[in-house]
Symmetry: C2
Subunit: 309 residues, 2 copies
């Protein structure tokens, strides 16, 4: 029986092509939690983490639309809001799946702050895509209005915000306590709420932390055995989306480092996963796995996905 | 040493006359957590609950303002968002105060779902004020657009939503575990996210639960010794705001029931507190206290506020 940190990709909750209505989000999350329930039924302890790229973007658009009518929330509060509502949705969906499977286990979504450094170079260079995908025309218009915009992995144009490196999970001890009590925990939502330490006090930082990097830090801090990145590809591939594409069943630490260095994995998608996987295994984690949510049980047994060890 | 559920009134976070900017909210919350830190320093275990009346109203206005641009969140998701961001703000503020006081205790904000009955009569009769205060003219306009509006305790006009009775705290066991591990817990924010059980599954309900009633239910379920309602008056009073006003140091269960029955306590403010206090003491709670946050330590010792026992 292993302690597993399972990091849900955005697609587990809003599928490609969907608008992201709340009916869709609840339906997709419920489906995904069905796969997680199988892990739990097999006796594993699970901590779930998740992205919030689209959701925090929606909230930013809402905040902007009501500016002048109600107080404008800073980005760290937007992140907290998305963590709250997504944590609720994931916990409720898992509770319902466990109920269907006849498993009597508690599920808790814990608000999670993650320490970052305000002097992180990334604070000056926004790179993390959030929110809706725009057409080129709309992107140009938004840029003129002062927003930082990038083209995101061929899927369209998006706003970008700063994404500093996670240093410490403020609630790690609490999450450990809950895991020890047998509770399934939803934590580090959206990569966690970024906070900096100033004169001994925590203060929110207007940024979004990469959820893969935050997840591997959490996995390290709670001494998880395995980290699993649940995503939309069967396996990690070299020469992705070219005729020379090669899918990988297994990656050693050295190979992973080398391919990362060679730029084999794009920054917006597979890059942070492999980077996070390398960090976790380097810190003593047993192994990291990249797979689709559907095959999470098989991938844990080494029969699907890609294993980094 | 007692286990105390401390229910923060809205004024602890947005003071009368303030706009409710996030700078104000963080400042007020930090100030209030200074008083809570004294309770913790005295050796008590504390679970904090809080209202979300203004905050969920702000979110509702933002959701409305961006309708058509991004998916529209249902009210139970709005409640979850406000619970997330307020839980974060309260936890961070308390962590900072404990740090200043040299107290090494963990603080966790836990997303909390609260079971309600979809057939609750209250579902058909919106009575719970949320969001901003409007002028009479604006209120008339909003009513014309289909919103339910009421005059709120002489402070202005506000939107109202349904407020069913809380039946069970879904995360009560988890909150108990955390308290036993010595963690200070923030829970049941905004009265909890209302959910109903349908064919064994939990589903969100578009409503807002009264935070005082949810707090006394939580206090009962986790077997707290004392519930404290932190509010803006020194003591519970009879004939409130009349020349015959009498402030009370002590109320027996019978007296409290009688005065409630006589309509001494207005529904929007002191009413639910006294009702919740009565329920808690009836269920075996040691006592309920109503006081200002500033005198929370004195009130626990019976030297300030009003005690119901």
């Amino acid at each position: 029986m292993s302690l597993i940190v399972a990091a849900l990709g955005g697609n587990a909750i809003i599928k490609k092509g969907e608008q992201g209505t709340f009916a869709q989000q609840f339906r997709n999350t419920f489906e995904c939690m069905g796969y997680i329930a199988h892990l739990i039924r097999a006796g594993h302890q699970v901590v779930l983490t998740h992205g919030n790229g689209l959701q925090v973007g929606f909230i930013m658009i809402q905040v902007e639309a009501a500016a002048g009518k109600v107080p404008t929330a800073p980005l760290h509060v937007d992140v907290a809001q998305s963590q709250g509502s997504m944590g609720y949705m994931i916990a409720q969906s898992l509770i319902n799946q466990l109920q269907e499977h006849g498993i009597d286990t508690c599920v808790a979504a814990v608000m999670t702050q993650v320490l970052v450094n305000r002097d992180d170079l990334a604070m000056k260079h926004p790179t993390k895509p959030v929110g809706a995908f725009y057409t080129r025309e709309r992107a140009v218009e938004l840029e003129r209005r002062g927003h930082a915009i990038v083209e995101d992995s061929g899927r369209g144009w998006r706003r970008v915000v700063a994404s500093p490196r996670p240093i410490r999970i403020i609630e790690a001890e609490i999450i450990k306590d809950l895991v020890q009590a047998g509770t399934i925990v939803v934590a580090c939502g959206g990569g966690g709420i970024p906070v900096a330490e100033e004169n001994g006090a925590l203060n929110g930082v207007d940024a979004v932390i990469d959820k893969d990097l935050a997840s591997s830090l959490l996995a390290d801090e709670i001494k998880a055995d395995v980290i699993m990145f649940l995503t939309t590809v069967d396996q990690v591939a070299l020469n992705y989306n070219t005729p020379q594409q090669v899918e990988l069943e297994r990656l050693s630490l050295d190979e992973a480092r080398q391919y990362l260095h060679d730029g084999q994995f794009p920054p917006g998608s597979m890059g942070p996963k492999i980077e996070a996987a390398v960090e976790f295994v380097e810190c003593g984690g047993e192994r990291a796995v990249v797979c689709r949510p559907k095959v999470v049980v098989e991938a844990l047994a080494g029969r699907a996905g890609t294993v980094i060890e």
